[in-house]
Amino acid sequence: MHRFANPGRFVRLAERILPWTGGLAVLALGIGLYLSLFVSPADYQQGESVRIMYVHVPAAWMALFVYTVIAAASASALIWRHPLADLVARASAPVGAGFTFLALATGSLWGKPMWGTWWVWDARLTSVLVLFFLYLGHMALSNAFDDQSRGNRAAAILALVGFINVPIIKFSVDWWSTLHQPASVVRLDGPTIHPSMLWPLLIMALGFKLYYLSLMMLRVKGEILATRLRARSMAALDAT
C-alpha cells in the first residue's frame, strides 16, 4: 500500500484509471436504469413500487460500504500514519452522507405506499439515521481544528468507535422485529430474490460502486492539491 503513499504518484495513477472507472460507471448506471425501469417485472405483491428498490438498495449498500472504507482508512491512518489514508476518509465522508441520505429518502418514498408511513422508529431505520449523523459528525470534526491533522485524528477515532453501528445495521432486521424486510440478496443460503430482479439490482449496485470509486479519486486529488496549495501559500507568506 505504501507504494501509493506518494501523493504525486497517486494523482498520476488516478488520472490514468479515472477515464475507465468513470466510463464504466456511466455504462453500468445506464444499463441498470434501463433494466430497472423497462425490463424488470412488477412485483406480485408490491406492484410497480418495487422499482424503488433499484436505487434504494444500492444507496443503502454504499452507505455501509463507504463507512467501512472510512473506518479502514482511519485505522491505517492512526496505526501506520499512511499519508493518504486521512485524505481518503476526508474525501469519502460527504459522499457516504449523500448515499445515506438517499437510502433514507428513497426508503421513505417506498415505505409510504407499502407500509402506510413515511417513517417508523424501528431498529433498521433508526440505526441508519445514526449512521447519517456519524457521517455528519465526521465531516464536522475533521474541519473543527485550525490544524487539519488534529481534526483528521479526532474524526478517525470517531469513525472507528462508530463502526460498531455497521454490523448493528446489517443484522438489525434479524435481531429486532421491524417493518423492514430481511436481507434477500446478501444471505448465507444465497439470494431469495428472482434473477429478473437480481440482475438489474446488481448492475445498478456495480454502477454505484464505480461512481463512488471515480468520485473518491477526484476528491482525493482535490485534497492533495488543497494541501499543496496551503503549503505553497504559507511558503509565499514566509517569503514576503
Binding site: I52, A105, W110, L215, L218
Partner: protein
C-alpha cells in the same frame, strides 16, 4: 401516447417511484458537480500562486 401515460403512472405508484429516481439523479450529479468545481478552484489557485513564485525566484537569482 397511452403507453407513455401507463409507463409514467407506474401502476399508481408514480408519485413515489419518480421522485425516488429523480432524487438519486440529483444527488449523484450534484456530488460530482461540487467535486469538480472544488477541484477546478484549487487548480486555478495553485496556478495563480505558481506564476509569481517563479518570477520571485528569478528576481532572487538576478
Amino acid at each position: 401516447m397511452e403507453q407513455v401515460q401507463t409507463f409514467l403512472a407506474m401502476g399508481g405508484y408514480g408519485f413515489f417511484v419518480w421522485p425516488a429516481f429523480a432524487l438519486t439523479a440529483v444527488i449523484l450529479i450534484g456530488m460530482l458537480v461540487t467535486t469538480l468545481r472544488h477541484l477546478r478552484a484549487v487548480q486555478s489557485d495553485l496556478a495563480r500562486l505558481q506564476v509569481p513564485e517563479q518570477t520571485q525566484a528569478r528576481e532572487v537569482q538576478q
